[in-house]
């Protein structure tokens, strides 16, 4: 417990200490988001800016307004939905790059992490990390078959003699079954995505070329150290949850009083600070996981000479 907490706090210090990288990753989130955010804001301005009751609309995104706004801007919103999907895919691709950059920077000896190193590691590991992500998604798919497909039907049949959730005897049982299924699904996803993190770390630490072997290694690692990896993940999720809860509270209560441009700017800054916090927490998670990985490896076997330093020397 103490070890996990130490790793977690250490991760925070390491990630938030890399301010330039932090800002860079933040921009990789912020700039694509503008592709949706600006047209959306423009549509809002066309619909709201000349409204007689504009000041009231600041406080409440009302039902009638929401409806007319959506109907009047239906083609635009449909386009933005598509853009958002494309950007989500781009973010997925960028995510592999960012993960490579973060882990690589943390992998390097203390003090050598730089934006250049971030780019170098991100580029170097991008393809491997994408393969890890693809494997993870295949595994997510398989998990889905067991939690939402035929596997679920068989399980339900074994447990209760019915194959459809609607055939369960009452609504409470059905909802509880749904919740258990949802919880199992989320836990399995957490397991898979955490394993993918350790697979990526093992790729960097051991310069593995096979994404499949690294992925299997990641699975095995998390399976061997469920408590330590789970605690670390829990810590960061809790921290992120608290951050978002606080931000949401502030935004909801504070934004109702926003009237002018300065108020809107204040809101904007608060929101961006929250995103920056989330970006940092994700970086911290990689740092913490790297620390957990290294200490576990050290417990298992004497630390080998850093592969990276020797390999990179020739780069």
């Amino acid at each position: 417990m103490g070890g996990a907490l130490r790793d977690a706090v250490g991760g925070l210090a390491r990630a938030f200490g890399r301010t330039r990288i932090l800002w860079l990753v933040f921009l990789l989130n912020f700039v694509p988001a503008l592709a949706v955010g600006i047209p959306f804001a423009g549509a809002l301005d066309r619909s709201m800016g000349l409204r007689r009751d504009a000041p009231d609309l600041v406080a409440e995104y009302g039902g009638d307004f929401d409806l007319d706004f959506r109907l009047r801007n239906a083609p635009l919103l449909e386009g933005l939905r598509g853009s958002l999907s494309v950007l989500a895919f781009v973010s997925f691709l960028l995510g592999a790059f960012v993960a490579g950059g973060w882990i690589g920077v943390f992998h390097e000896p203390k003090g050598t992490g730089s934006v250049q190193a971030f780019f170098r590691w991100g580029g170097r590991q991008w393809a491997r990390f994408l393969r890890v992500s693809a494997l993870t998604l295949v595994a997510v798919h398989v998990v889905g078959v067991f939690t939402h497909g035929k596997g679920w039907e068989l399980l339900l049949d074994l447990a209760s003699g019915v194959r459809k959730i609607e055939d369960l005897p009452d609504g409470k049982t059905a909802v509880l079954a749904e919740w258990w299924r949802g919880a199992a699904y989320v836990l399995l996803l957490a397991f898979l995505f955490t394993a993918a993190d350790y697979a990526r770390i093992s790729i960097v630490e051991a310069d593995r070329r096979s994404a499949l072997l690294a992925w299997l290694h990641g699975i095995a690692f998390v399976a061997r150290h469920p408590l330590r990896t789970g605690l670390l993940l829990g810590f960061y999720n809790l921290a992120e949850g608290l951050l978002l809860a606080a931000a949401t509270l502030l935004l909801r209560t504070g934004s109702e009083h926003v009237r002018g441009g300065f108020g809107a700017l204040g809101l904007f800054l608060l929101m961006q600070a929250t995103i920056l916090g989330r970006v940092g927490l994700r970086g911290a998670r990689y740092a913490g996981e790297l620390a957990v990985y290294r200490s576990s490896q050290a417990e298992a076997a004497p630390l080998q000479a850093p592969v990276l330093a020797t390999r990179l020397a020739g780069v």
């Binding site: 912020f30 988001a33 949706v36 955010g37 959306f40 804001a41 809002l44 301005d45 619909s47 800016g49 000349l50 409204r51 007689r52 600041v58 039902g63 009638d64 307004f65 409806l67 109907l71 919103l77 933005l80 939905r81 598509g82 999907s85 494309v86 989500a88 895919f89 997925f92 691709l93 960028l94 995510g95 994408l130 998604l137 997510v140 798919h141 939402h148 035929k150 194959r163 055939d167 369960l168 005897p169 009452d170 609504g171 059905a174 909802v175 749904e178 299924r181 989320v186 995505f193 809860a245 935004l251 909801r252 934004s255 009237r259 441009g261 809107a264 929101m271 929250t274 995103i275 994700r282």
Partner: protein, 806 residues
């Protein structure tokens, strides 16, 4: 005052007629007394008082004496009924037509099953048991066997596979004002595993549309006008509609196994039993009721049976001011509009026991408000059924018995189950008491009831908060911008999920292609990310990202449903003739409700508050226990309100035009001094040198203002326009008859314009685009900044979420 053309609107509705409680066979003039009265009323002052004329009983055209035995194991009911029918037509009648509703579930080729489309996935996967009803004997009063005279009738579509209507030829015609009695024996089987109202589910039986029921013998009408031809109105069972029957008396004895003791509810009063059989294995209950047009029952051994009485004197939600207002509006005393106690029996699923109070609150509120506005609920009892999980019963209405339903987990600001309870109870008034032909004019009951429900819900329960569902649980949330569903070909994210991958692209030797082109492997469903609630929630609302709360009144929900597709159909048509189920839903529920709400505001604004209450009350009282048609309502509306509404009804009810008024131009510029040549000839006074560019910047000086309000839609209604100038305390109001395509007004040299608003009181809720109803001169960017910023934040969180997957 507004200008109203005296030509078109002087025409009253020709089909106005009285309800069935009046004697038949009257002359045309005598049978349409409203016509003359309505015409006179248009010019006469409003009625100061509506005479208290709440009918106390129906004309009781039919009577049923039924004995039926339930066999839960076989899921069958074996029954016999003695039906007596009185011929109210002016001539003899040689046949009887019966509905056999349960045959709609006999196979997948019946009219109902064809209309509702192929079996859904759940029905395909699960065990299916078809339902049917088989008439085994029909005998005349003298014992003559009439079974051989039975023939199936398909008056609506000629579908040879539909067996939901039969005709029985009588040995001797029934003379005018005469009666006939026949005995019918039948066996019915309840369907299971199909989306059916009248179904069984793990011992639960909902006995609705379960016995051979007579149609209505009446004069056929075109646009409300009698044609002189009399015929059976007995439509086949259709997916969206099923109700039309004569009022009468029911005397029903049910024999059920002992397991159901104390767990039976039905239309009517329990007059005998439960009386156990000699062997103790079964018991008999007898229900009797007059002045209803159907009989339904429920048997649910698992449900909790609760009983409570609605007492109008001690009801905690009582509103003395509203009672006073209604009495004043109707010109009656409070005693005259007083309500009566109602004994309510609630069958609640055990897992919903914690929601008992929510059920009572909703039902009592409905009894109170519907009774106060339209007239007291006339029956002594009401049964409320919460169907078991997994049944497809949903919310339905039958005389003195309604079904609703709820989830195990509910949230307080989501009006579930209140909304459905109020709505289904409301049908006791609009369908039960005012019993229009639901097959042909569904909007007369669904629309009127949706209108009334919205008023009760907004008044009693307030705005509802938007929710999304995850794991069958509602969660307060409202995404600003949802993702497209994966796999629809436009969503690259589907690549992440394998949902969009067509396995044929990999040339896999799989032959088991589903109809939509996707390929499924035996034992494995490859489209993983079809809308799984948990994943959908995570996807559209990444954990804890900002979600604006969104509270909406019922009227807003109605608008949302209507304006999405306002032109698909005219409002009034047979239920199965709408282009699709969505159009049926819009035109039977949301659109008529919005029309009534709009007319209410319009009429009250012109004729004074309370006028519309008198319209609705009069219509209800006049047609309580009757079968009105749309023209009957139109005539009452004109008669009571004194407004000429004919053209409006024509467009709103029989057309599919859209109503939309908006501010097109609102501009105000500092007045420039005249420039150019003024006076006769080219040597006139020259003034151009005096015009200076700086004039336009003088905000406080005189301004030239132009306002254009546009009629974007085809529906013409009178509207009010408000124009507000700076430093002028009150806005100027203009009445526009709305006929021209636009209303243009100019002011020269006045104060600067601040804003313009059309229809400031939101009279016309039917307005398809409310966002163009007002416009200010100076833009205010702060709301867009605020909400645009929050949307950007939401997008950032979404991208952050997907970045974490990569």
């Amino acid at each position: 005052m507004l200008e109203v053309s005296p030509t078109a609107e002087d025409r009253p509705f020709p089909g106005a007629r009285e309800g069935h409680y009046h004697p038949a066979g009257m002359t045309s003039a005598a049978r349409f007394p409203l016509l003359a009265f309505a015409t006179n009323a248009l010019a006469a002052p409003l009625l100061a008082q509506i005479p208290s004329s709440l009918p106390t009983q129906s004309d009781r055209v039919v009577s049923y004496r039924i004995e039926a035995t339930l066999d839960p194991k076989e899921k069958k009911v074996r029954g016999r009924e003695r039906v007596t029918w009185r011929n109210n037509s002016p001539g003899p009648v040689g046949d009887l037509w019966f509905h056999l509703y349960l045959n709609a579930y006999k196979n997948d080729r019946s009219t109902l099953m064809r209309e509702r489309g192929p079996l859904d996935e759940e029905e395909e996967v699960g065990k299916k048991e078809w339902g049917w009803i088989d008439v085994e004997a029909v005998r005349a009063e003298q014992g003559e066997d009439l079974k051989r005279s039975i023939s199936f009738q398909r008056p609506d579509d000629g579908n040879p596979d539909d067996e939901t209507v039969i005709r029985v030829v009588l040995p001797t015609p029934v003379p005018a004002s005469g009666s006939v009695t026949v005995d019918v024996e039948w066996t019915a089987r309840f369907p299971e595993g199909l989306s059916a109202r009248n179904q069984t589910r793990r011992g639960f039986f909902l006995g609705v549309q379960w016995f051979p029921k007579l149609g209505v013998f009446e004069e056929t009408r075109e646009r409300g006008t009698g044609t002189g031809r009399w015929a059976w109105n007995c439509h086949q069972f259709h997916a969206p509609s099923e109700f039309y029957a004569d009022f009468g008396t029911y005397d029903v004895s049910l024999i059920l196994p002992q397991d159901y003791s104390g767990k039976v509810g039905a239309t009517g009063r329990l007059t005998e039993g439960p009386s156990p059989s000699k062997d103790g294995k079964s018991f008999t209950v007898r229900f009797q009721q007059e002045d209803v047009h159907d009989f339904a029952w429920v048997a649910d051994p698992r449900a909790l049976k609760m009983e409570r009485s609605f007492d109008p004197e001690t009801y905690r939600g009582r509103d003395g001011q509203e009672e006073e207002r209604m009495a004043r509006v109707l010109g009656r005393t409070r005693a005259e509009i007083a309500l009566a106690p109602v004994h309510v029996t609630l069958f609640l699923q055990p897992e919903h026991a914690g929601q008992e109070e929510r059920h009572w609150d909703a039902v009592f509120a409905a009894i109170y408000w519907f009774g106060l506005w339209y007239g007291r609920y006339p029956y002594a009892g009401l049964t409320v059924v919460d169907p078991p999980f997994g049944s497809s019963v949903g919310g339905m209405e039958y005389p003195m018995l309604i079904t609703a339903g709820t989830d195990w987990r509910v949230v307080s600001r989501k009006h579930d189950p209140e909304g459905v309870l109020v709505h289904e109870f409301g049908h006791q008034f609009w369908y039960g008491l005012v019993a229009n032909n639901e097959f042909e004019h569904a909007w007369l009951d669904e629309g009127f009831n949706t209108y009334s429900t919205a008023k009760v819900m907004d008044r009693v329960f307030g705005p509802e908060r938007a929710t999304v569902r995850a794991g069958q649980t509602p969660i307060y949330a409202h995404p600003l911008l949802r993702f497209p569903e994966p796999g629809d070909g436009r969503d690259p994210r589907a690549l992440l999920t394998l949902a969009a991958l067509r396995w044929k692209a990999f040339s896999l030797p799989i032959r088991n292609a589903s109809p939509d082109g996707f390929v499924t492997l035996p034992g494995a469903d490859l489209t993983l990310l079809r809308p799984d609630p948990v994943l959908g929630f995570l996807r559209d609302l990444p954990p804890l990202s900002f979600v604006p709360r969104l509270d909406r009144l019922e009227t807003v929900w109605l608008r949302e449903r209507y304006v999405r597709d306002p032109k698909a159909d005219p409002l009034d048509r047979r239920a199965w003739d709408y282009v699709d189920r969505t159009s049926y839903s819009i035109n039977s529920y949301a659109r008529p409700a919005l029309t009534l709400l709009s007319l209410e505001r319009h009429v009250n604004a012109r004729r004074g508050p309370g006028t519309w209450d008198r319209v609705m009350r009069t219509y209800h009282e006049r047609y309580r226990f009757g079968h009105p048609v749309p023209e009957d309502f139109f005539a009452v509306a004109e008669e009571v309100s004194g407004e000429r509404l004919g053209d409006l009804f024509e467009r709103l009810i029989y057309g599919s035009d859209v109503l939309d008024y908006g501010v097109r131009v609102a501009e105000s510029a500092a007045q420039r001094r005249p420039a150019g040549i003024f006076g006769p000839g080219a040597t006139g006074e020259r003034r151009e040198a005096e015009a200076r560019a700086g004039d336009a910047d003088r905000r406080g000086g005189p301004h030239d203002t132009k306002v254009v309000v546009q009629r974007y839609g085809e529906v013409v209604v009178p509207v009010v326009i408000e124009v507000k100038f700076e430093k002028v305390a009150q806005p100027e109001r203009f009445d526009w008859d709305g006929r021209d395509r636009h209303w243009t007004h100019r002011w020269e040299g006045g104060p600067r314009l601040e804003w313009v608003r059309v229809d400031p009181e939101r009279v016309w809720l039917l307005d398809a685009d409310a966002s163009n109803n007002d416009r200010r001169v100076d833009p205010d960017p702060s709301p867009a900044l605020r909400w645009g910023t929050q949307n950007l934040f939401w997008v950032q969180n979404v991208l952050h979420f997907f970045g974490g997957i990569g």
